[in-house]
């Protein structure tokens, strides 16, 4: 760790510690893993380089995750829309998925990740895509259309309080607050 800490400036390290939920060790480990994603010649200024999405998805923690594309899209601050991530985006992601992050932050970002069409609410199409992500890509593992219809109807009945046919952030957070397991399952540890 001594080598990588000399590359990450101390003020930046302290600032990251203040602004994220990660501690110093985790930030240094994140820096190490991030710079390993870059080719050797660009490792010196890893702080300001952007890593393309294909490289990010080779990380073992994201490789098999069905929400990998959504996660990259939500946390990427790239203006080009290519979902490339800088080191700060990477830290952002780890911070939200860390142990110390509050349930509020986690539920907000979970909402954004599940909002496939990015309209600010979860409507039927979003829910259908979400269930398909959960059950996997195999044809035999999916729910058939009757079951999907029944499931979405039930989910909306249970969580849509203002009865507008969609689930907004407050309703989503209300559902999440009923589950004590959410905080421990919405976690990625490097």
């Amino acid at each position: 760790m001594g080598g990588s800490s000399s590359l990450l400036p101390r003020e930046a390290l302290e600032e990251y510690q203040e602004l994220t939920f990660l501690n110093k060790q985790e930030i240094l480990l994140a820096y190490k893993r991030f710079s390993e994603l870059l080719p050797k010649e660009r490792r010196e200024n890893a702080c300001s380089t952007r890593v393309p999405k294909s490289q990010i998805l080779t990380l073992p923690e994201l490789r098999a995750n069905p929400f990998q594309h959504r996660i990259c899209h939500v946390f990427s601050t790239s203006e080009d829309g290519d979902d490339s991530m800088s080191f700060e985006d990477f830290l952002d992601m780890l911070s939200v998925f860390s142990d110390a992050a509050t349930s509020d932050i986690k539920s907000r970002y979970a909402f954004r990740i599940f909002d496939f069409d990015e309209d600010g609410v979860l409507d039927r199409k979003d829910l259908e895509k979400l269930v398909n992500c959960l059950t996997g890509q195999g044809e035999e593992a999916r729910l058939n259309s009757t079951e999907m219809e029944q499931l979405i109807r039930n989910v909306l009945e249970e969580s849509d309080i203002d009865k507008d046919g969609t689930i907004n952030l407050a309703e989503f957070q209300h559902v999440i607050s009923r589950s004590p397991d959410f905080v421990s399952s919405f976690k990625i540890v490097l």
């Binding site: 600032e15 602004l19 994220t20 939920f21 110093k24 060790q25 923690e61 490789r63 098999a64 995750n65 069905p66 929400f67 939500v74 601050t77 800088s86 700060e88 985006d89 911070s95 509050t102 509020d104 932050i105 970002y109 909402f111 954004r112 600010g120 609410v121 409507d123 979400l130 959960l134 059950t135 996997g136 593992a141 729910l143 079951e147 029944q150 499931l151 039930n154 989910v155 249970e158 309080i161 203002d162 009865k163 507008d164 046919g165 969609t166 907004n168 952030l169 407050a170 559902v175 999440i176 009923r178 589950s179 004590p180 397991d181 959410f182 421990s184 399952s185 919405f186 990625i188 540890v189």
Partner: protein, 804 residues
């Protein structure tokens, strides 16, 4: 935006903390940031709205499902002319903070500022009855017609709001606001520029003050050292990587078993250290004269007898005198150097106090962790809306291996299908004959289970009587010492065998029974297993106290200690055998013979109950074998690595749904309620038994067994710290009397044992207090559930009103 308008309601809090009922006039102040928001966004979105309205004209009108009650809110393009404010309404509502997620930085910050500031200032929630229906954000307040040009950006406003917070709150808010890190950094830079007071940097950059420079160096050095120390502490967490590996492959459910094991390990280490420091180490420093120390052979590790009998492991080794007493004529074998300080140490008192203190501390730790765990795992309303919770919260992001992810997807799919099928069944209930059949099957299964428990208990009783007779015959026939010790292993063997085989039988029974929900299956299995283990342990405790145990040593306490040691060791051996046969062999059979890709599932409930059983044995035996927690620590360490290896090689995660935090609470409650409390009752009875004896006339020589089977437990005459006393408790009474005599000023001290400890009323009072607290909490939770339901109805009603 092709959806009907919605209103995200917030029950507003008064910005002043006097708790007055919020009136519509205050809403303007409260929602000022929303006004800024609307002004900023209105120009951006106005164009988009026009485009959408044009598109709507092209779309077919019957797009929304007719069953949607809100669909008929005049979304046809013709009606937009009839409602002139419609476009503005859409615009306003589309810019409500709930919709601007990820879009407007100023919106997010101001929303966060309001919420944080409100949370900080409020002291109590206003009661529900005081909030009137009008105290809600109403559209009347907003300027529907005109949009005054505002030059102040929402960003500037929010920055000023941030500056007004104290620094600790400011950094906390920066941490929690859901912006990207880049934006947070720029915000922080802007804040530090705006700050009028010179920061530390300018002070430290002053070169003309060497004192300040020294001070800064020291502060910096301390901070660096502190950060390094914290980083070290974080990485030195035991088993951090191993637990991460297990969580990554099997998810939170299997991880909860290993976390429970870690908790037990810490509890045992704590008890062991307490006993080591106050009892064991001191006795080791002043060893009593032992007759003839026997040579060590390997069998002692199994039987606990032989050379272990007269060792620190058991009760009999500890002396009943004051160690290192300056007035003692012949300190037993210890040669204190001349001139050394003589610190007498009362061993019997230390023994009973340390054991009492370790039980008390364990009790407090367990109650605290139950409270903590219950707070984390219980949520109001978690039993309703199961499907939504499952869809949103079921995915465990910790699982990273490709095969495990696939398995998790399959499990979630199966669970969703099961829940949907259950729901369909509930809508069409079973017919009468089917229900009768189901109830009969359930009753039969329970009768069978209870019958087997009774059968096991009777079998254990008769077997122990038989072994008792065999032992007496062997003792009379003067058989070899090892034969006698070997025979003593038979009872632990049988009990462990029953404890290992019966759970598998109960699993078969559960498969035949087919409970309604998988959650109920787990509870029923736990109940049956626990019942069996506790009843068998109860019988064994009765036998130990009635001194049916005969062994070579003269001390009955050492015999009981040895028996418990044997039980602990046998339990460990059988756990290993169960892991070997249940997991390894079963996987080989499945792979080679049946050629199936499935591996055996890791049965979490059964393994946790085994841990609880082992821990109960340790707590029962602490009084008679003070080093038993050390044995348990070694056992748990070995068990962790063996279970982890077997898990990685042989098992897959369970397919049934498992609520990890809920089950953790259940397990720690089970650890406290039958296990720890039972052991505490046993130990208290052994110490205090003179209070509960019932006999008429002169006390007989032999321990009396009256009609109620209450026994008097008298310490042995010739060994242990309490030789010659009537009961162990007498030590304390004698000490208190001595204190009274030596110093009449603290005569009040004798009040404590007399009224608090000996009097059972204090115990009843404590129990009453605990029950009252539980009752109050239940009522608070009921009230919260009612409030949630009322609020939901309110929201639904207001939305309908808005629509009309």
């Amino acid at each position: 935006m092709s959806r009907p308008p919605t209103v995200t309601l917030r029950v507003p809090e008064n910005t002043e903390s006097d708790g007055r009922e919020p009136s519509p006039d205050n809403e303007g102040a409260l929602h000022s940031s929303f006004c800024q928001l609307i002004e900023e966004q209105s120009s951006l979105v106005a164009g988009a709205i026009e485009v959408e309205l044009q598109e709507r004209g092209r779309e077919p009108s019957a797009l929304l499902p007719p069953s949607d009650p809100v669909a008929t809110t005049g979304l046809e393009p013709e009606q937009s002319e009839q409602h002139p404010g419609y476009a503005t309404t859409l615009r306003i509502l589309a810019n409500m903070p709930s919709r601007t997620i990820g879009r407007s930085r100023g919106a997010i910050i101001s929303q966060y500022y309001n919420r944080t500031a409100r949370l900080r200032r409020r002291s109590s929630r206003p009661p529900l009855q005081q909030l009137s229906l009008t105290a809600q954000p109403s559209l009347r307040q907003y300027d529907l017609g005109s949009d005054p040009a505002h030059t102040t950006l929402a960003d500037e406003q929010s920055l000023l709001e941030l500056l007004s917070l104290p620094p600790a709150q400011r950094s906390h808010m920066l941490l929690e606001v859901p912006l990207s890190l880049e934006e947070k950094r720029s915000l922080r830079r802007q804040l530090s520029q705006k700050r009028s007071t010179p920061g530390l940097r300018s002070r430290s950059a002053d070169p003309t003050s060497p004192c300040a420079w020294c001070q800064d160096c020291i502060v910096l050095g301390c901070r660096t050292f502190w950060y390094r120390f914290l980083a070290l502490v974080h990485t030195s967490q035991p088993w951090h990587y191993a637990l991460k590996q297990i969580g990554g492959r099997f998810g939170s459910s299997v991880l909860s078993y290993f976390l429970f094991l870690k908790t037990l390990l810490l509890l045992n280490i704590f008890s062991f250290l307490l006993l080591l420091v106050f009892v064991v180490a001191l006795q080791a420093a002043y060893p009593p004269a032992v007759a003839s120390p026997r040579p060590f052979t390997g069998l002692e590790l199994l039987t606990g007898a032989g050379s272990f009998t007269h060792s620190l492991l058991y009760y009999g080794y500890y002396s009943n005198t004051t160690l290192n007493d300056p007035s003692a004529s012949s300190p037993s074998g210890s040669t204190s150097p001349p001139g050394a300080t003589q610190l007498p140490y009362n061993m019997p008192l230390a023994y009973v106090f340390t054991i009492g203190a370790s039980f008390f501390a364990t009790c407090i730790l367990l109650m605290y962790s139950i409270y903590h765990s219950f707070g984390k795992s219980y949520r109001v309303g978690s039993s309703t809306g199961v499907l939504a919770i499952k869809v949103f919260c079921a995915w465990d992001f910790k699982v990273v291996q490709r095969r495990s992810v696939k398995l998790q997807s399959e499990n979630i799919c199966t669970q969703l299908k099961e829940l949907l099928a259950e729901q369909r069944l509930r809508s069409c209930p079973l017919s009468l004959p089917q229900r009768l059949r189901h109830i009969t099957v359930l009753l039969l299964a329970w009768l069978l289970a209870l019958g087997t428990v009774l059968g096991c208990v009777v079998a254990v009783y008769y077997f122990s009587e038989h072994m008792h007779m065999v032992q007496q015959e062997q003792g009379a026939a003067a058989g070899s010492e090892w034969q006698q010790e070997g025979v003593l292993l038979a009872l632990p063997l049988i009990v462990s065998l029953l404890n290992t085989l019966m759970p598998h039988f109960y699993n078969l029974l559960a498969a035949w029974e087919k409970q309604d929900s998988p959650g109920a299956e787990v509870y029923v299995a736990i109940c049956r297993n626990l019942l069996l283990k506790m009843v068998v342990l109860g019988l064994l405790c009765y036998q130990w106290l009635s001194r049916r145990v005969v062994c070579s040593a003269k001390c009955w306490e050492t015999c009981v200690g040895q028996d418990l040691y044997r039980f602990v060791v046998m339990d460990f051996i059988f756990t290993l055998l169960d892991t070997g046969f249940g997991e390894l062999l079963w996987r080989l059979i499945l792979e080679k013979k049946l050629k199936s890709k499935q591996k055996p599932e890791f049965d979490i409930a059964r393994n946790v109950l085994e841990l609880i059983y082992g821990q109960t044995l340790t707590w029962l035996g602490v009084l008679f074998a003070p080093l038993l927690p050390a044995v348990q620590v070694l056992k748990l360490l070995l068990l962790f690595y063996i279970k982890k290896t077997s898990l990685m090689q042989n098992c897959q995660s369970p397919s049934k749904p498992w609520q990890a935090s809920h089950m953790s609470t259940v397990f720690i409650t089970l650890l406290f309620f039958p296990s720890f409390l039972g052991a505490a009752v046993f130990v208290s009875y052994t110490i205090w038994s003179s209070r509960v004896v019932l006999y008429v006339g002169a006390p007989p020589e032999q321990p009396p067994i009256d009609s109620l089977c209450l026994l008097r437990v008298k310490p042995s005459e010739t060994c242990g710290p309490f030789q010659g006393l009537q009961t162990i408790y007498q030590t304390l009474k004698v000490w208190v009397e001595l204190l009274e005599e030596s110093n009449p000023n603290i005569a009040w001290f004798s009040w404590i044992p007399q009224y608090l400890v000996e009097n059972t009323i204090f115990l009843f009072f404590l129990t009453g207090v605990v029950l009252a607290i539980i009752y109050l909490n239940i009522h608070v939770l009921r009230g919260q559930r009612r409030i949630i339901r009322l609020l939901e109805e309110q929201i639904a009603n207001v939305c309908e009103l808005c629509v009309l």
